[in-house]
Amino acid sequence: MDRDVFQRALILGAVTIAALLCLLPTAFKDNFPAQWFTRPLAMGLDISGGVHLVYGVKSKEAVKSRLQSLLVAVRSELRAKKIAVAQSAVSADGQLEVTLLTDAFVEDAKSVVADKLSDLSFKNVDSQGSRPKLVYEIDPRMMQRIELEAIEQAVETLRNRVDQFGVAEPLIQRSGEDRIILQMPGVSDVNAVKKVVGSVAKLEFRLLPSSASPAGVGTVTMKDKQGGPVVLEDQALMTGDSVVDARVGFDTNGQAEVSVSLSPLGAQTFAKLTSENVGRNLAIVLDGVVYSSPVIREAITGGRASISGGFTTDEAKQLKIVLKAGALPAPLEVLEERTVGPTLGLESVKKGLMAMAVGFGVIALFMVVYYAKAGVIAVTTLILNAVFMVAALSLFGATLTLPGLAGLALTIGMAVDSNVIIFERIRDEVRAGVGRDLAVHTGFDKAFSAIFDANITTLLSGMILYYFGTGPIRGFAVTLCIGVVSTVFCAVFAARLAFDYFELKGKRGLSI
């Protein structure tokens, strides 16, 4: 056999075998070992059904809550130095305002804050009112860092929570500045997902105010589960950060409760706060809602606490997950939500595949009838092309979506076109009286520039769409780029190899 044809046949054979190896997991699905280098081709949510959510992280809220905790710190520092604070607040534009009772302590107060809280920079003393008001602001770079950390931490927390949910192949991805894309295939109860994934889960322990409250501690009004007002101290004595484990249990009345284990440091803090406040009510607050406020009977030193408050078993389970995975640093906002029922996706895929099969059948029939043996070669390369494209998709771990299918259809169309261009060119030569073998050579050579330019143009726009596009546009672009490479390979390289092979075997006048 001619060495050149043999070498090219080797290349084609190697690529085909590699493609088939890529496709093994897709063909055998779950029966295939997971250690294999490719995974089964993933179907997009528009095909397989599931939940698609785009969350926006309200990162400004993270800054606000950071300011709130700084405020608490400032106040307790001042209280420790016996400097009376008349009023303190975080202003709407993100400044910290501390109003002192008298002018006498302004300098003392300033030095206390400067010593202890380097995050804050002193702005000015506003003495318009009768009392001096110290204004502090937070460094803008610091603010940016808090926002950035909040977004990163939110992604991490979402990942933890989704892991707890136990869904196969979820996708959690940061997108743009402050967005998180969450996709969970096969999940249909979007409300359960949102409850577990999207709730902030900020757990706080706060005391109810009493005559024993130290001076300077203000109050806030929060809601209980029924929506009624509850007045609490404005200082959270402990937060959910120290929770290391949570589990669902039942109290003596058979009500579901969640018991939490605290870290050693958390256990110490908890022991201290309970021993100092025996006899007072300790409220357990989750996301601003007071779940219960039992009386502290004795110091709790075991590092365990339980949260009850009349929830259902499902609610308790959800609470367990969010407490274990940790609180979100900032609230999330649903910007986009899509759910596709599993039967709908399956139905439309079946119909779509059938339509594609019919379309392909018509094309194949025409090619074989019109171009005879050359048509058989064309159909074979088209099938190879489809195999290569799907193999490349699973190799790159791409997800097949409806726009992706459109991209595949476009490239198959262009592949058919490449064959037609070449064959018509060969026919031109045959008609001009050139011998068959030479006609094949000239036809391929002359058709090449058209096929090359057409595909490069497509590749170029595909790459730009991938780079600048989002979501579905990207899916389209990926299949387009893969398709272009595969089409040129099949229509030019593989088809030509077949022609050359038949020429070698001496079957003169391969019908076209």
């Binding site: 906002e333 910007l335 262009m414 769409l465 050359d500």
Partner: protein
């Protein structure tokens, strides 16, 4: 050899250009008129934001009945659209700004109240208003940059005039196809976008194939009249043009007849796009390129050579 097109066709395409230009201009104006008169209403949930529910109904229902049923349960201003298929599907759209739970609960309740168990929600979409606008903007940006890249590449490999012609043709194809699409009661969404991109792909492909032939012929006969060369190239490539387009059209029609939902919508768009792509290469790219070269006084000057063909092995 079976043949479809008689081989020595000598159709004088260029003489038909004036009539076609009037037709194209009218079609573009009509498309813009359709688009303008619908305004924001031409965009689906993907690009305008809002809530959309895809619901299947057991039994005999129509859009008006469903709309009235929802209204009787307190869900006003719902837009109901029917999708033909084996099972009857209806899309219910609400432009309310309220959050997903509230709206979903409301719609679920209203469907249950009005139709009992006959209605099942298959798919819900919520797109926030800012996200919808952003998706629209990023899609537009990607497409415009893609077009510029195509213009540059074609100008480099062929002539600036051909690049210019193909951009005008892409605009022509996408505007008219979208006009037809909107006029037939469809909304612009992600599926439309995928369709528009596919149309662009086919249209450029077509232009490249024909002008590759123009490039080749001009290389051979350096002093020939450009108009004559283009006309010849169009005739040379006519058999390929017809075979390719009939075949792709078959596939698109199969998708339209068998497919459902997004796929059905997409294929309607593709049918229009495939026909327009073939038309525009002949009647838009060719005259634009020709007139531009005439305007520059270069219509009988040689053009770039075809690239060296891959050497035969």
């Amino acid at each position: 050899m079976k043949e479809i097109i008689p081989r020595d066709s000598k159709i004088d395409f260029m003489s038909m250009v004036p009539v076609c230009m009037v037709l194209s201009a009218l079609a573009i104006i009509a498309s813009f008129y359709v688009f303008m008169s619908r305004g924001e209403g031409s965009f689906g949930t993907d690009f305008s934001g809002g809530h959309e529910f895809l619901v299947t109904f057991q039994g005999d229902f129509d859009s008006e009945k469903i709309r009235a049923g929802l209204a009787s349960q307190g869900v006003q201003d719902a837009r109901v659209q029917a999708f033909q298929g084996a099972v009857k599907e209806y899309s219910i759209r609400l432009l309310e700004a309220a959050d997903v739970e509230t709206v979903r609960g409301k719609v679920e309740g209203a469907l249950k109240g009005a139709f009992g168990d006959a209605a099942t929600i298959q798919k819900t979409d919520f797109v926030g208003p800012t996200v919808g606008k952003e998706l629209r903007r990023s899609a537009l940006l990607a497409v415009i940059l893609g077009l510029i890249a195509i213009l540059i590449y074609i100008a480099m490999r062929f002539e600036f005039s051909v690049g210019l012609g193909s951009i005008v043709a892409l605009f022509h194809d996408v505007v008219i196809a979208t006009g037809i699409y909107i006029a037939s009661g469809h909304l612009i969404g992600m599926a439309t976008l995928a369709g528009a991109l596919t149309i662009v792909g086919y249209s450029v492909n077509d232009t490249v194939v024909v002008f590759d032939r123009v490039r080749e012929e001009r290389g051979k006969r350096k002093n020939a009249d450009l108009s004559a060369v283009i006309s010849e190239a169009l005739n040379f490539t006519l058999s390929r043009t017809i075979i390719t387009h009939v075949l792709t059209l078959f596939s698109a029609v199969a998708l339209y007849l068998i497919g459902e939902g997004d796929i059905k919508d997409l294929s309607l768009y593709l049918v229009a796009g495939i026909l327009l792509g073939a038309y525009s290469t002949i009647f838009v790219v060719s005259p634009v390129a020709l007139y531009w070269e005439r305007y520059r006084g270069r219509d009988s000057v040689r053009v770039n050579q075809a690239p060296e063909a891959r050497k035969a092995s």
